[in-house]
């Protein structure tokens, strides 16, 4: 099976060939790429659904689909984007691709479990898709599966719940694998505070995956039990409590936001020092703020329920805690900016995406405070304001973090360089389209445009039309970016081992990396961000 080509040295991409060598590989890098291809495919599918929904709303009344189709579409869009794309996205793709290399290991602690996690993920994703088409009754509950509707709806809710449960299991196993890997497989000399900050963010993320995901898994099983066995957990008709469902659902699903965003924060934390050629500012605060976000993030779930009939005392309690999350988030932002300050800033595509991340995430963060305050939340709850807020956080944060990551590590992953100018053009279109699409939704939300409505009052038409134009521009930006990457993954110029002059371990090995990453496990004698150039002296 070992086929070394005449032009390329032996590496993880070519040391074995054939489809089976990929499907059965326990190499963390190949598994990372399997996740990558799956997730990008699902992302594009769900993005098309998003575009269609926006086209439907270009004018009041029915445009291209019925209300029921619209309901099914936002449900499918949400399930794919949340459970298949953004929750596993960065951790599963770039965690698998880069974590072992960055800590000086040859693989993760449990390589076969890693492959099993991927197949669980793939099975769950297929089941989620199947639930949309089986028996012609696509689930229309939204991705949150709120009871009592999800306990009574005649659509394929049980299939969708089972899919979410399976995807959650994959996430738990990946989290477990990463925690054990980081604890036991760091290279000799790599103390906790000599570990790069992307692994730190993955470590914090993995704890959330491990501890919070079982809660939603059990909750979804309880809904299945309610539907099939008529056990009264949540449905008031059976003696249950619907607010309990919301508690249990958000105990997981709010920390899940940090599963999405923490690895993105880790990615940009790698990018800023590299493209400023300067050590990261405030290494320890950034590392500990990841843990602080993970910890505080466990206790703020109630801010999703301010209007759900929760007690007054709980509302102010959760509101207070929500504001506390802003502190470790702000620590990161100030440290990123300070890292660039005085550095030799090189505006390459990864840095453009990383700076965009700060801009968009900050808008999402500030509007999150609007939603975290009880009084203002009641005004804008269930409006387009909320949709705009979480797209700024999740797409602007995790999405742009993902794009930053692929532009940063692309030369390492494929051993090829992409076209810088086209990458910059793609970024410009994407950034413009993003803001045109989502910013008007803040204004419409404040004016009272409800979320999840396929029709609207004519007074919202200007905002809706601008938003639709933004969606089209955003989609063009995506196509531009992805075409550039796909084409140059095969046809790009050969990449050197260290095209960006990075200092972490992945840049010290060939591009693409060899099958087992290192011929000899490196011995670490210094911190991860020591630059030997004039700017550090």
């Amino acid at each position: 099976m070992n086929n070394q080509t005449s032009t390329a040295p032996l590496n993880y991409l070519n040391h074995q060939t054939g489809l089976w060598s990929w499907l059965s590989s326990s190499d963390h890098k190949r598994i990372g790429l399997l996740y990558f291809y799956c997730i990008v495919t699902f992302f594009l599918s769900a993005a098309v659904l998003g575009l269609l929904m926006k086209i439907e709303k270009v004018a009041p009344g029915q445009t291209i689909m019925t209300a029921q189709t619209y309901n099914a579409m936002f449900t499918l869009h949400g399930i794919i984007m949340i459970f298949i794309v953004v929750i596993p996205g960065l951790a599963a793709v770039f965690g698998n691709l880069m974590l072992p290399i960055m800590i000086g290991a040859k693989d993760v602690a449990f390589p076969k479990l890693n492959l099993f996690s991927f197949y669980l993920f793939f099975g769950g994703a297929c089941l989620a898709l199947y639930s949309q088409f089986a028996n012609g009754h696509a689930p229309d509950t939204g991705w949150t599966f709120y009871v009592p509707y999800s306990a009574e709806a005649s659509s394929n809710v049980v299939l969708a719940l089972t899919a979410a449960f399976t995807l959650g299991f994959a996430s738990i196993l990946t989290g477990l694998n990463f925690i054990v890997t980081i604890h036991t497989m760091r290279a000799p000399g790599m103390t906790w505070f000599r570990m790069p900050l992307f692994p730190w963010s993955l470590y914090a993320t993995a704890w959330i995956q491990l501890l919070a995901t079982p809660v939603v898994g059990i909750t979804l099983l309880m809904v299945i039990a309610e539907r099939t066995l008529h056990v009264g957990f949540f449905d008031p008709k059976l003696g249950g409590d619907p607010v309990l469902y919301q508690h249990l659902f958000w105990i997981y699903s709010h920390p899940a936001v940090y599963v999405m965003i923490l690895p993105a924060m880790g990615v940009v934390t790698e990018i800023f020092p590299t493209f400023s050629q300067k050590p990261v500012f405030g290494y320890v605060p950034i590392a500990l703020s990841s843990l602080a976000i993970a910890l505080v993030g466990y206790f703020v779930w109630g801010h999703h329920m301010f209007t759900s009939g929760m007690s007054y005392e709980s509302r102010w309690f959760f509101s207070l805690l929500t504001f506390l999350v802003a502190i470790p988030s702000a620590i990161k932002v100030f440290n990123w900016l300070s890292t660039m300050y005085g550095g030799s800033v090189d505006l390459q595509p990864p840095l453009l995406y990383a700076i965009s991340f700060i801009f968009l995430f900050t808008i999402g963060g500030f509007t999150g405070l609007t939603l975290g305050a009880v009084a203002t939340d009641i005004q804008v709850h269930n409006t387009d304001f909320v949709v705009a807020h979480f797209h700024y956080i999740i797409f602007g944060g995790m999405g742009f973090g993902f794009f930053a990551a692929i532009h940063y590590w692309f030369p390492k992953i494929y051993g090829r360089l992409y076209h810088i100018r086209w990458a910059n053009i793609g970024w410009g279109i994407l950034f413009t389209g993003f803001n045109l699409l989502y910013f008007p939704m803040f204004i419409m939300g404040i004016q009272g445009m409800p979320r999840r409505y396929y029709d609207y009052d004519p007074k919202f038409q200007l905002g809706q039309t601008i938003s639709t134009i933004g969606a089209v521009i955003l989609f063009i930006g995506l196509i531009t970016m992805i075409s550039n990457l796909i084409y140059h993954a095969k046809k790009g110029a050969l990449a050197p081992a260290n095209p960006w002059h990075g200092v972490t371990l992945e840049w010290q090995i060939p591009s693409p990396p060899p099958h087992e990453n290192f011929d000899e496990i490196p011995v670490i004698t210094k911190g991860p961000y020591v630059f030997d150039n004039p700017y550090t002296k």
Partner: protein
């Protein structure tokens, strides 16, 4: 990697632990007869937590593990205890 000594617990100890677990299970069934009202769930959770701690300590050998591992497991239980308490605060005040 830790290469700590392996610990083999005696049959006698394992049997005692099993006996305690069975007694606690019986207690969790019998306690229903006392009509504790709002405290029924709290009592059930308390008994389940004690059983869980015993299983972790002896059957899963946590007693013989390093301090850091014990702290991690303890931290997880503390986290879930806080989450449950916060959820029930809402019920209490609603």
């Amino acid at each position: 990697m830790d290469n700590h000594d392996s610990h083999i617990t005696s049959y006698a100890l394992n049997f005692k632990v099993l006996l305690v677990l069975l007694i606690l299970t019986l207690t969790s069934i019998l306690v229903i007869k006392f009509h504790l009202g709002a405290f029924t769930v709290a009592m059930a959770l308390l008994l389940a937590s004690i059983k869980c701690t015993i299983v972790l300590t002896y059957f899963m050998h946590l007693k013989f593990e390093s301090l850091i591992l014990r702290l991690m497991v303890g931290g997880i239980f503390l986290l879930f205890a806080i989450i449950i308490v916060i959820t029930f605060i809402d019920y209490y005040f609603r």
